[in-house]
Every structure is written in structure tokens, then in C-alpha cells.
Symmetry: C2
Subunit: 337 residues, 2 copies
DNA sequence: TGGGCCGTTGAAATCGATTACAGCCGGCAG
DNA sequence: CTGCCGGCTGTAATCGATTTCAACGGCCCA
């Protein structure tokens, strides 16, 4: 009668050694004699043994895995970042697990269940999680915030200079000769959206351009809100000649809707996006946008969490990654008045 | 001197009961007396106790979590599916963990490490994983395949009728009057791509339309391969008047490139996609495509894995979900010759 | 010849929660 | 008055790997 699953004890028996020796053979091969090592290898092969992670985790008090909390997997923006994270973590022997913090059936307080017995580290991409669930205590694993951040939480941040990115967009439009520039906002609650809006205001002021509240259109980063923004723009008596959208998704929605209503981009309105998601190089017109180094963001986040897991005492740092204007076809000089 | 982490034993001490009673109070509140329950509750609050998952997993031999293996998180196609999975699993008290099977640093044999001590169930969205890593044995948790599948693996499948979907696209084009219809293929190795190509051939034959090998253009589902497909199409002496692309991403790339070269869609060429990803309703022209019920696919996959985890003996089933043609602006009757 | 050290190994404690089993107590039926 | 049952609780075994500690054998050097 055979057991369901071979244990280390079974391997030990087959190899004629003790469980301790099998454990050592598998995790520190250099401390056991070559003959023993070989015997263990053979026994493992013969029994089909694989380690029981739960038991190891319990004993070692670590899981060798990092959890990423992303606000919305539906947003293609996160994909490449996660790939960067995964690559760096894998090299260090860690697993990456991705958890969506949104959607029906998902608990807002999911972060509370992510204690040290679940993950050795946490990468938070969602700036709207309740800070009280993430305050450092002896249960919470090391944590970094990436892209978005939570104001009331002291933790290392990896992010881009959102205000500067918005500034690049505005400066580009100003350089083309636009003097009436609007901004399609991200969701009010979102820190990125606020930082970008601030950048817009600053740069407009720096160019002595008007900052008109009615030219700041509400949006929420989504395609659909891009369309709504377009309708708002069309409905204006006194339309800006250029609109900087706080996300590429909104820019796509905006362009689609104005085109449908008979306007041309960039002749009738110049449009700038933010993110440089894959698709925007392949729409018509190709979108001028602010590139975020997504892979690098992921790499950086992974490196910081690794160092934090190695030495929890590291002070909260703030990594600012550079952004870049990608000039394509959706912007041009404004039509002569 | 306080411990790093409160254990169930500490709670027991504070509450003046045994660890067993604390455990019962927390997991089966109805078997302990109301006073004891209250005492335990208070002690938990006072100590700030949270359960150690590693210990519980070890004892109970289950993790209450399901792992989804997706071929490429970068593909926005998976997002809504995963949301559907997550919603159903959450209701049953299970966690969903997402693992990307691609990218540098990620082991092709990742599936081999996902034994019962890691996950109670597996949902595989990647048809190209090595089947030998997934053969059922006593270590492998219950498994379902969703969207894609692996030919040599006996496991429940949740998928759409790819051939029928392709048929809908071709029938639609035929109905509009197209007689010269091309197909931009998915990656050769991919089962979905093959199923769709078969569907194309069948439906063409059913309409007595020519099946010309040179009209089957190579592609790999990516945006960039859509552009290449467009260049191939343009280079042809004898161009089809309509092209059915095996993915929406390719359709976007295709449209962008033909537009850039001065062709109009749908006047010069009708284009049909496959998937109905969010964005394609917001490009110009809005894309006619085959909708996959992504949320339902996720729900169905979750339900099947749940029933499999409850009763491993269930026979391999095959769930076929319906697809639907979404008619938008990228298709019209062919120009008069 | 004896002492000490190194390389290797095994016995047993440990990680922290769950649960089988047994015991206790009060109430009720015979 | 005895015996049994049911509700509640505690003791101790258990899950499976890791790791501390001690011990063993062989070798070198004094």
C-alpha cells in the first residue's frame, strides 16, 4: 500500500540515510559526500519526490514569493511592468503572484490577508487601497509602491515624474504654437491624475498660457470617458485647439469620438496621450504620447523589494524614472484662426 | 519581551482556554459556547493575532488558492477572463493567483513546480506548455484548460467554437458580396489559430469561394504582424477584397498599415477581427469582429475547477461557449470591380 | 599515544495550526 | 440511584521539512 505522496522520509529510507541528510543533499549539495548525494539523487528519482512547500514555508518562515497588487488587470498598461518584475524576481529565485484588487467578489481589504505567512514581499500598484490595511507592523511583509502611491504610507516608491511628463506634453503643444490647451483629467481620487493635472497647470503658467477651469475635462482613464471628453470638447463654445489626455486609453476614445463627429486629428485638434501603450502606435493617426519606461519600472520595483526583503531596515526611498515625449502624428500646429 | 508574531497559543493563554478551542472558535464558531467565543474574540483583538497560512496549509493539505497560467499578461485579452474567474472563486472562498508563463527569467517548466502544496487547482490558458509537465499524477492538482488547450492532455476544456467563429466572419463577408477573401493567420503552433484557419477553409468551401493558399498570410496575433500582413496584402498582384484577421490586435495593425499606405477601410478592403477587445470599438473605423464571451469563459473555468477540486473523479468535460458577430464599420460590400 | 579538528551524519526539536480522541459535567430516562 | 447521552473542552498526535546539536570516524600533530 503506497502513500499518496512521497515524503522526505520515504526518500531517506530508499537512499538508506536520514531525512536530515536528504534535506541537506537537496538544499546544500556541497556539505554531503558525493556518494551520499548520488544515492539521494537516485532515491528522489525513484520515488518521484517533490518538496512540500507548505512544510518548508512553515519551517523557514518564508515563501519565496512576492505578491503584486494591481488595481485592474484589464488595463494593458500593467502587463509589461509585471513582466519586468517577474524577470528580476525569477533571477533571484522568487515567484511573482499577481492579484487583482478590483472587481466583484474581491475584498477591498485583501491586503490585510497578505501577511508574512503568505508572501515575503508586496508590490502595490494601487494607490486607492485603504492605508490602514498596509501600515507597517510585525505581520506585514516589506512593501514597495510602484506607479501609484498612497500618501499616508511610508514605503519606498518607484514612479515616474508625472508632473514633468505632463509638462513635456504641454511644452510640446506650446512649441507647435497652441495657446488654447485643454486637459482631459484622470479620476479625481487618483494620485497620478492629480500629479499630471498639477504638471499641466505649472507648465501652462510657465508659458504664460491661460489656465481655464472649463478646459479641464473630467475623465477616469477609461476609453469611454475619452469619448465623453470628446463630446464635452465638441459642445464647448470656445474650444481648445489641443487636448492633453491623462491616459492613452482616453486619448483613443477621444480621437475616435471626434473623428466620428467629423473632426480631423490633428488638423482640427491636436491630441497627446500618456503611457505609450503598445496599441497607440497603430491607430490612425498614430498617437503622440508620453512614454513611461514600463519594463524599467518593473525592474526597479523588483530590485527594491529584493533589497528590502534582504534587509528590512532600509529607509523609504523614492525612485523617479524618466519619461520621454514620443512625437507621432496626432499633433501639429493649430489651424490658422 | 514579546514575540515577533502572536500564535494561536498566545491567544489561548490570554483567553484562558486551550489552542484547540481557539482554533474551533475561529473556524467553527457554532461548536463553542457563546462565552468562550466572546473571550476568544477579545483575545484575538487584544493580541492582534492573524493566522499562519503556512501552518494551516500544511495541516489541512490545501491552500485555498487556484493558480492561473497565462501565456502573456501583455495581452489585454485575458484581463476580463481573469476577472470572471476571480469573482467566482472569491465567492467560494478561494484566492486567484496569476502567473505569466512567458518572458525572460520565467521557466518554461513552471507548471512542474505547481504541485498540490502550492495550489489546489490550476487553470491553464497556455496551449504551448510542455504536456509532460502536466500529466495527471498524484502530485498535480486538478486542472482545467481554458481558451487554448493541449492536444495530448486529458482535462476539462472551456473554450469557444473557434471554427464556428471564423465561419461567422467568412459568412458575413460572403453575404456582403465578397468573393475574394483572405485570412491573416495566427501563430502556426497555436491551436486557436489552427482551429480558426480550418473554420475559414470550411466556410469558404461552403460558399463555393476560392481557397487560395497565397491568401492565407502568416501572422502571430501581434500588432506588428498585422502590419506585416498589410504589407503582404498590398504587395499582392491579385488582392482579396476582404481580410479576416485571427486576432483583433492583428486587425488593428493591419488597418493602421493599409491606411498609412493610402488605402481606405472598408472601401478598399473590408477587415474582420477576432476577440472583441475593448479598444476595437474605439478605433476608426470601428472594427467588425467576433466576440468571445470573456467574462463567461472565466466564470465557467472557475466553476469547473471548483467542482473538480470538490470531486476529483469528474470526467474530462468540454464546455463550448457561443461566439457572436459584432458588425461595425470596418466591413462593407466590395467596391465594384 | 593522546588530543583536537574537520567532514559527515543522525536524533530530535521545531515551525504553528488542526483534529482525533478522550474526559468532564449536567440532565434525563429507566 | 445508575447509566447514558450530548455539549463543550483539553491533551496530544499530526502535517513534512529544516536545523540545532551532538557524535562518530579519521587524520594530523604534538
Amino acid at each position: 500500500m503506497d502513500r499518496i505522496t512521497p515524503r522526505i522520509r520515504d526518500v531517506a529510507q530508499v537512499a538508506g540515510v536520514s531525512p536530515a541528510t536528504v534535506s541537506r543533499a537537496l538544499s546544500k549539495p556541497d556539505v554531503v559526500s558525493p556518494e551520499t548525494l548520488e544515492a539521494v539523487r537516485a532515491a528522489v528519482a525513484q520515488t518521484g519526490y517533490t518538496i512540500n512547500h507548505a512544510a518548508r514555508n512553515l519551517r523557514q518562515k518564508r515563501t519565496m514569493s512576492v505578491v503584486a497588487l494591481v488595481p485592474n488587470l484589464a488595463n494593458p498598461f500593467f502587463s509589461r511592468i509585471l513582466a519586468g518584475v517577474s524577470a528580476v524576481l525569477a533571477q533571484a529565485g522568487y515567484n511573482l503572484l499577481v492579484v487583482d484588487t478590483e472587481g466583484p467578489g474581491v475584498d477591498r481589504h485583501i491586503a490585510r490577508t497578505l501577511d508574512r505567512s503568505r508572501a515575503d514581499g508586496l508590490i502595490v500598484f494601487d494607490g486607492l487601497l485603504p492605508p490602514e490595511d498596509l501600515q507597517p507592523d510585525r505581520l506585514r511583509p516589506p512593501l514597495v509602491m510602484a506607479c501609484e502611491w498612497i500618501e499616508d504610507l511610508a514605503a519606498p516608491r518607484i514612479r515616474i515624474d508625472n508632473a514633468a511628463g505632463a509638462g513635456l506634453a504641454i511644452a510640446h503643444l506650446a512649441r507647435l504654437g497652441h495657446r488654447r490647451i485643454g486637459h482631459l483629467l484622470g479620476p479625481e481620487a487618483n494620485v497620478l491624475a492629480r500629479a499630471r493635472a498639477d504638471g499641466v497647470r505649472q507648465e501652462l503658467a510657465a508659458h504664460d498660457l491661460p489656465v481655464r477651469p472649463e478646459w479641464f475635462l473630467p475623465g477616469d482613464f477609461s476609453l469611454e470617458s475619452g469619448r465623453r471628453g470628446a463630446r464635452d470638447w465638441i459642445a464647448m463654445a470656445d474650444r481648445p485647439t489641443a487636448v492633453f489626455c491623462a491616459s492613452d486609453q482616453m486619448a483613443c476614445g477621444f480621437i475616435a469620438e471626434v473623428q466620428r463627429r467629423g473632426f480631423r486629428v490633428p488638423q482640427d485638434v491636436s491630441v497627446v496621450g500618456f503611457d505609450n501603450i503598445d496599441l497607440v502606435d497603430h491607430i490612425t493617426p498614430a498617437l503622440t504620447t508620453i512614454r513611461q519606461p514600463r519594463w524599467s519600472i518593473g525592474e526597479a520595483a523588483a530590485r527594491v523589494i529584493l533589497s528590502l526583503m534582504a534587509d528590512a531596515a532600509a529607509p523609504p526611498s523614492d525612485t523617479l524614472l524618466p519619461v520621454e515625449l514620443i512625437e507621432r502624428e496626432s499633433t501639429s500646429a493649430p489651424a490658422a484662426p
